[in-house]
């Protein structure tokens, strides 16, 4: 029972991440009709917002200590972050909280990046073939990640969560299990709640604002909305920016779990496409549902009991589910007819 509960938690946590990444992708699909292979790169850029903030906060004053030498004979450097110099303990706290703080800078940065991307590139590909869209966005993804690599190197860069959230919560104890039976890291719990909040906000935004109404109408029937004389271009730009922000936020908050490196976008690209397609192209609810479905089933497939029964199932479970779902439901869980079938 406790093992079961743990895997449910794992599944939810994974699902939250998957859903968050897939949400923006399916939004762009549904409204703009663009296959965006650079979506993983947006996720990666988001996480590097956290890295950037951290390195800004830890900009150091370097003093050479002529008394002590390094192993290669140059004077030893003594480094103190400026911010600690200026603010003392408060500076330390700021550094400690760099990941949550990065949300504040990630929102404007990602929005700006999204708008620039849409205006500068994506816009010109609305009417082009999907194959062309794939090629150009894939090229963009490579360019973006190579730029990040040349700045930050190829190795993962650790981004610790605030000390307050280090360690884990003994959830089992609260539910009457034995000690240590159900232990879960605080940060992962926060991530799950965070993804819930972001998903809910996106839905609320689309459900309860006029802007959202138009976008939803656009997803249902692009041509008609265009005929109504609504300035759809500006809205499309904003939708793309929104997708970029959501992907970016997913990236920022994921950094304590997965130390970011320049290639992480590509690692998530295939997965996010599978999630979107299993959910049904252009269906927001489908993306969220598929994200959680895949997350939970992946967690269960990784259990020793399951894996010893069917060796290697944890390696392929995501794809197996995708195949089964698509064979049973031709357009994914919540897909509509005629979207992206030609």
């Amino acid at each position: 029972m406790d093992a079961f509960l743990l895997q449910v938690l794992n599944g939810l946590d994974k699902g939250g991440a998957y859903a968050l990444i897939a949400l923006g992708l399916t939004l762009v699909f549904g409204t703009l009709g663009v296959v965006n292979f650079a979506h993983g790169a947006l996720f990666m850029l988001g996480s590097f917002c956290a890295v950037t903030l951290q390195s800004l906060l830890t900009l150091e004053r370097v003093v050479l200590d002529p008394e002590r030498l390094t192993a290669w004979g140059t004077p030893m450097e003594i480094r103190t972050p400026y911010i600690v110099d200026w603010f003392g303990d408060f500076g330390m706290t700021l550094i400690d909280w760099s990941v949550p703080l990065a949300i504040l800078i990630a929102i404007p940065i990602m929005l700006l990046l999204g708008v620039i991307m849409e205006r500068g590139l994506i816009r010109h590909f609305y009417k082009r073939l999907h194959a062309d869209q794939i090629l150009v966005t894939f090229g963009l993804a490579i360019v973006l990640q190579e730029i990040v690599k040349s700045q930050f190197g190829a190795n993962p860069i650790p981004q610790p969560a605030p000390a307050m959230f280090a360690g884990s919560a003994d959830i089992g104890l609260m539910l009457g299990f034995a000690e240590n039976a159900v232990v879960y890291p605080w940060w992962r719990i926060i991530y799950l709640m965070f993804s819930g909040v972001v998903i809910a906000s996106v839905f609320a935004f689309l459900q309860f604002t006029t802007f959202g109404m138009v976008v939803r109408a656009g997803m249902a029937d692009r041509e008609t909305v265009g005929l109504l004389g609504i300035d759809i271009d500006r809205r499309f730009t904003i939708v793309f920016g929104l997708a970029a922000v959501v992907a970016g936020l997913a990236g920022v908050m994921y950094t304590p779990i997965l130390s970011p490196d320049y290639h992480m976008g590509m690692d998530f690209l295939v997965l996010s496409f599978v999630v979107v397609v299993v959910g049904g192209m252009g269906s927001l609810g489908g993306a969220v549902a598929a994200g959680f479905l895949l997350g939970i089933l992946q967690s269960f497939a990784s259990m020793n009991e399951v894996n010893s029964l069917i060796p290697g199932i944890d390696q392929v479970v995501i794809y197996l589910i995708a195949v089964v779902v698509l064979l049973i439901r031709p357009r994914g869980l919540f897909g509509r007819e005629g979207v992206m079938e030609n």
Binding site: L135, V136, G312
Partner: protein, 384 residues
């Protein structure tokens, strides 16, 4: 009329193609690509992309899992070397057949869907193949290390025909001719020419027309009395066999088969090759394959030393500046150049490199004889 035109142009195209393949070692030497391994790769990935184009270019079905068939071809070939004989002919035949069989099974399932759903299904099957080959199927695939020849391999047929066992590992042969180095390249080159010719015939055949009809309007096809599924399946299997053949050739020129050949990035690569060169054109996929492999092998080899050398004519200050900027695009930065190339091509030449070539051709022709020519359409027909 157009008939006459097409046939003539095809002959010229084919003869030109054969000449380029035959003289490749000389033609590509000035750009640093005139060595056997890279030319083998040009030929092998050319075949892979030509086959992929029969599916994607003609029917419009975008498979994101074709590398799986390449992998199956490679594994089959290496197993043939291990179990039967080091002669490459059985390996080539079996790898094509097995890949075709695998494609038949997979295609039967995935062709129930079209569009992006089809793409994701192929991707899913290929990723499953890759993941399993990398881990659980290690007894068959030798996992991460890749399947290799071993001294104690059975090689039954070689035993029967009394091929003597050397002290070291044997190498692949075509009735005694070693299949590495230049002879290996010419073997690949001959196969490439044959496969190119087959693709040419398919493009110009009624069957090819049916495949283009699939891409254009499946609904009309059904109401015209044509069953679209077998047509798409046939295209899928044919392109799977091309991939298997390419995989077999990879093992023939270099008897090792690794799981990473089946990864989605490898499938993506052939998609990029085809689009980059020009989807649905005859030559485009081969050119796209060559460009990508050239970047991978040659651009990645330019280190700082070579750059300093190349820009040594500049004043020292400028030299360093230029080297540090160009250094971003070559050596470890070759990916950046490739990414930028993808973007530039697709933005400025929607039809891929073939469109660029056609445009240059048109401009020169107009420049040479400035009368309105009606050949443009024939050109398009020839290249489509």
């Amino acid at each position: 009329m157009i008939k006459f035109n097409v046939k003539n142009k095809d002959h010229i195209l084919l003869i030109g193609f054969i000449i380029v393949v035959a003289l490749a070692p000389v033609i590509f030497a000035p750009i640093g690509a005139g060595y056997p391994d890279l030319l083998q790769k040009f030929a092998i990935f050319g075949i892979f992309a030509i086959g992929f184009n029969i599916l994607f270019g003609l029917t419009g079905y975008l498979s994101f899992g074709h590398a799986a068939f390449l992998g199956v071809g490679s594994y089959t070939a290496v197993w043939t070397f291990k179990l039967l004989t080091m002669n490459v002919i059985p390996a080539l035949i079996l790898s094509t057949l097995f890949a075709g069989l695998f494609a038949l099974v997979i295609g039967f399932i995935v062709l129930r869907r079209s569009g992006i759903y089809f793409s994701i299904l192929t991707l899913a099957f290929a990723q499953m193949s890759y993941n399993l080959a990398y881990s659980v199927l290690t007894p068959i695939t030798n996992g991460e290390t890749g399947l290799q020849l071993a001294l104690h391999d059975a090689r039954v047929l070689d035993g029967v025909f009394g091929v003597t066992r050397g002290e070291g590992l044997p190498s692949t042969t075509l009735f005694g001719m070693a299949m590495s180095g230049w002879s290996g390249y010419y073997f690949c080159g001959v196969v490439l020419i044959i496969m190119f010719y087959i693709s040419l015939r398919i493009f110009r055949s009624p069957f090819g027309m049916m495949l283009r009809a699939v891409k254009s309007n499946q609904n009309r096809m059904s109401y015209t009395g044509l069953n679209t599924r077998p047509y798409t399946l046939a295209a899928f299997v044919i392109s799977g066999m091309y991939a298997g053949l390419a995989g077999g050739l990879m093992a023939i020129t270099d008897p090792l088969a690794g799981a990473e050949r089946m990864q989605w990035t490898a499938s993506g690569e052939v998609v990029l090759m085809t689009i980059l060169g020009g989807t649905g054109t005859l030559l485009g996929p081969v050119i796209g394959a060559g460009v990508i492999k050239y970047f991978e092998n040659i651009f990645s080899s330019f280190n700082e030393g070579i750059l300093m050398d190349a820009f040594s004519f500049l004043p020292e200050m400028l030299q360093h500046a230029v080297v540090s900027i160009t250094g971003l695009f070559v050596g470890e930065g070759w990916h950046l150049t490739l990414g930028a190339l993808f973007m530039v091509i697709v933005i400025f030449l929607p039809g891929g490199l073939m469109e660029g070539i056609a445009r240059i051709g048109n401009v020169t022709r107009r420049w040479l004889k400035p009368k309105p020519v009606a050949t443009t359409e024939a050109d398009a027909a020839a290249s489509e």
